[in-house]
Assembly symmetry: C2
Homo-oligomer: 173 residues x 2
């Protein structure tokens, strides 16, 4: 992976997540990355190929978001951390999530698979905590957290902290 190729991916990630996939022209990317437009197609063949390259980086990093949860054993602590996850997302991770969400609505790509590990882990937590229906309980919680991160991404949160506390209380963790 050359420096220029990295730069192209980086810039594309930034611009796709800000302006959307279709609305971002390849020559704009080239300009911003200080690279000839032809190079984009040499490396990625297509604009779609570029998107794939960007998505690989995206998925790799989003997966990493869930790694710290592996160290937690106590169910209540684990659940608390799962809930808190979308509330304290760093800038980089927010960009990855922003792109994934944008694509979900723009292209309709299959994203669910990235979140399968966290779904499974959440389900396990509810099992340990003897919830009646851990599966649907997990789906409900992830639904909520999905909504939370959407709001965070779009900066539409009036009262982030209060909602967080509310959820912590609801799940008694």
């Amino acid at each position: 992976m050359t420096e220029k190729k990295k730069k192209i991916i980086d810039v594309a990630l930034e611009m796709f997540s800000e302006n959307g996939y279709k609305s971002t022209a390849t020559n704009q990317i080239a300009k911003e990355a200080k690279v000839s437009e032809g190079l984009i197609f040499r490396h990625f063949k297509n604009k779609e190929g570029l998107l794939k390259g960007v998505l690989e980086v995206c998925e790799r990093n989003v997966s990493k978001m869930f790694d710290p949860l592996d160290d937690l054993k106590h169910p209540k602590v684990l659940l608390k951390n799962i809930i808190s996850l979308p509330f304290n997302t760093g800038r980089d991770n927010m960009r990855y999530c922003k792109l994934l969400n944008k694509l979900k609505w723009e292209v309709g790509g299959e994203i669910e698979s990235i979140f399968e590990p966290i779904r499974k882990k959440t389900e396990e937590v509810f099992e340990l905590m003897k919830y009646d229906d851990p599966k649907s309980e997990a789906e409900t919680l992830l639904l909520i957290l999905d909504g939370v991160i959407s709001k965070v991404i779009l900066n539409k949160f009036e009262s982030k902290l209060i909602v967080h506390d509310n959820l912590i209380k609801k799940y008694e963790v």
Copy 2:
């Protein structure tokens, strides 16, 4: 409002909500609506003007979705109906919501105002039900329902009914 103008709005609504605003070409709309392309610009001046026209219809109808709630007086029944709202959305209303959501991510338009009435009503319900913090309680619930309708729209729901029951139980209604 002539028939052709109505037809243009109708087709644009359909195509915008399916393929997005920017990805839908005006000549495609004209073709689908069986109308000369020039007519679109005569009626709406711009593509943006067309979007405005479509959005007006959209907002008018989405507002209507909440009207039946006005008849309900008993807080528990009202809350139950608020929760159920996104779970049994008709085809037409789903299209309006789909467009609004797509635009939220594609253009970043201001949509929140449409949902202000339902937010207020939800807050009132929680007040009547003596919840500790009705405001944040309302925000949390609407967050959830927003997630629900997103999943419904995108057909990503593994277990719609179970999540619905889960929420009904959680709020004890």
